[in-house]
Amino acid sequence: MTAPSVQPVVEISAGLEALVASLYRKSGGEAFALSYQQFAGILKEIAGKYATAGATSGELHELFSSLRVEELALARACAFGNEKAWDVFLTRFRVKLYDMAERITRDYAGARELADSLYADLYGTESRDGQRNCKLASYTGRGSLEGWLRTVMAQEYINRYRHQKRLVSLEEKEEDGSQFAAADPEPASEVDSRVQSATDAALTALAAEERFLLASYYLDGRTLAEIARQLHVHESTISRKLDKLAKSLRKDIVARLTKQGMSRRQAEESMEIDVRDLQVNIRQHLTQKSDHPTFSKEEVKPQAEDGIG
């Protein structure tokens, strides 16, 4: 991923001209009044965005060959305002956009609003410096146009949801009991820093895909099937990987902790300590033995009147 503000200048060598010409024919851009020069300019822009500085001809060849040039030509022709391109686009995607929106929002009214809003962005109802700001101009053909539309729509939906969340009314907050919320509890004592650092080191040592698996399953609550579809593997593969990951992580953290001087039993117990449990324990301790100082090193003799309560 390159930062949006830095784009290396890419020149298409003579060796790639033939490929570009072939891709132009394949794209059918001519039917949408997209000239060869415009098409070549689009490819240069894409290369500048995704190719590393000093990319070889072979790498550029691979990049260009992987592009969905037909959909790229269609999208860019729409961005240029070609009516024929819009006709084709609407034929293919008009209904699908509403379906996508309905699947994302799971609400008919919200889906219509989301789809209509995206349509406006795709068409470019806003203009900047006299130029129509059409979202389709940012499509680069790395993935399918339909998939891109889905991603853009999901992005729009998440942004809207976040924006609406910030605009929660005071009445809603009162209903949530926010004004009656208890003050923040005292910060609990931290988990042993050795455990934290061992855990961080173990997580860092994992591959990106493994961390993605853990985050998707344990943090996001995705099902095995959903994760399997995202990674294009079978569900059982995900199940096996997660099981293996959990075991290997545990083993790795215990190994790191024992190297730092902890006993094995201590290490295993420390991994199961939840910070929230520590907070609860403190509260319970304060409630049960309120007349005794907490975290005192003095021994407290049990008394007959001691008890819960």
Partner: protein, 434 residues
């Protein structure tokens, strides 16, 4: 599954979120598994840290749509349902059974007819007293009660037709299924009892329709009692009978150019209209009754079918009618059809190794064009397709078709990738290039 240590869960949550996010193109390419490994790894790395981007990838996943399409593709096409229900499975089962029995009986009848052909003699038809048939009577469904069973009583008559040629007997299973709903099982059972149990004892109209009719006198009249609603057929000459038979199945053919509603009904009826029965000779008395019964059932079935079709056509002509929509799959290999305003889509098999780029529909007519001059036409909502090879001035169209526009069944325009426009004004038979 092994439980993840709590400390690991906690540390996963506190992972700092990255500032720069991959664009929609990269996330799409990742979701479609089309990123090279050197680009996929950084995206995965980002996704492992960024919950928002993971949410986006999950929301944008196309799997639900594909599963719906795949699930629909695995079932028999049904315009009004997305999943097979127990009733449709039941009908399908009975239809299959009825079809097997009917085919066996038809073969037997055909052999009998072949043997008895020299002995047949013609008879004069008696005029029929008939009453007009109501739509309700015509849509004889399972709710019809006993009493509507046919008998030999006067008052209602049906024109018998000569035995059908072999090609008219074989009808599609789908047609039998759809008609099964229009004919009372009780009617079928009672009819069968009167025939001494010959043929299929089934509640399905398909069995009735396909019950073999021995060769009968051309104009012999039999009566059919319709209970409270009189089912009747006017006495018609053979040409009218032919017209009736043809009109009841006219919506199944392209030439009739029926309204979309009628054709969607006809989606399940793809059998050709039976040609008029040839002149027949005298039949033995023992077979006359069975012939008469078959004719009664056949006429009742065809009448019911025609009336049901009329009823549905009228219903679909109102404002609530939902037209069929067409689209193309993302890779262009499949056409997609929706009968419920795009809520669900069914893939339509047209041809293999074709990449479609444009589709246009007008009523029941559908035109789809694609790469290398591929052009396909359907006149029945996509049930059947014909490959069209436009040619003008001795040259065939071989360029990619990027746009198809048909304003009616005759006038259309194709736009190719090289900017040429091909025009037809006779439904695709001849073309001109602009």
């Amino acid at each position: 599954m092994e439980q993840l240590p709590k400390i690991v869960r906690e540390r996963l949550q506190v992972t700092p979120k990255p500032e720069v996010h991959p664009d929609a193109d990269l996330l799409t390419a990742f979701a479609e598994n089309s990123l090279p490994e050197r680009e996929r790894t950084p995206v995965l790395e980002h996704l492992s840290q960024c919950g928002d981007c993971r949410e986006m990838v999950a929301l944008a996943a196309p799997e639900v749509v594909l599963e719906q399409v795949a699930a629909v593709a695995a079932m028999p096409a049904s315009p009004s349902r997305t999943r097979p229900t127990w009733s449709s499975r039941l009908i399908l089962g009975w239809g299959t059974l009825a079809a097997c029995i009917a085919i066996g009986v038809l073969l037997l009848r055909y052999q009998t007819h072949e043997r008895n052909l020299p002995q047949l003699a013609s008879r004069e038809a008696a005029p029929a007293n008939v009453a007009p048939m109501s739509n309700e009577a015509a849509s004889i469904d399972a709710k019809k009660r006993p009493g509507s069973e046919p008998s030999a009583s006067p008052g209602l008559t049906a024109k018998l037709e000569s035995p059908l040629p072999p090609q008219a007997r074989l009808k599609s299973r789908d047609k039998r299924e759809s008609v099964a709903k229009a004919v009372s099982p009780m009617v079928a059972g009672r009819l069968d009892e009167k025939q001494g149990g010959a043929g299929a004892v089934s509640g399905e109209a398909g069995a009735l329709a396909l019950r073999p009719a021995p060769a009968i006198p051309q104009q012999e009249q039999v009566t059919v009692s319709g209970g409270a609603d009189q089912v009747a057929m006017a006495d018609k000459p053979q040409e009218e009978a032919k017209a009736t038979a043809q009109s009841s199945s006219a919506t199944q053919t392209r030439a009739a150019a029926p309204p979309p509603a009628a054709s969607s009904q006809a989606e399940n009826n793809n059998a050709p209209a039976p040609p008029p029965p040839p002149a027949s000779s005298v039949q033995s008395k023992s077979s006359v009754n069975s012939i008469a019964a078959f004719a009664r059932k056949k006429d009742a079935f065809e009448t019911a079918q025609a009336a049901a079709l009329q009823k549905e056509t009228a219903a679909r002509m109102n404002a609530n009618y939902v037209p069929t929509r067409w689209s193309i799959s993302a890779d262009g290999s499949t056409l997609l059809r929706s009968n419920d305003e795009g809520r669900t889509w069914n893939p339509v098999n047209v041809a293999s190794n074709v990449v479609f780029r444009a589709v246009s529909s007008f009523g029941t007519e559908v035109w789809a064009g694609g790469k290398n001059g591929a052009l396909y036409h359907s006149a029945d909502h996509g049930q059947h397709w014909v490959k069209v090879k436009p040619s003008a001035n001795g040259a065939e169209l071989t360029d990619d078709i990027v746009s198809v526009e048909f304003t009616d069944s005759q006038h259309g325009k194709l736009t190719t990738a090289d900017g040429k426009i091909w025009i037809t004004s006779d439904g695709g038979n001849t073309w001109q290039v602009q």
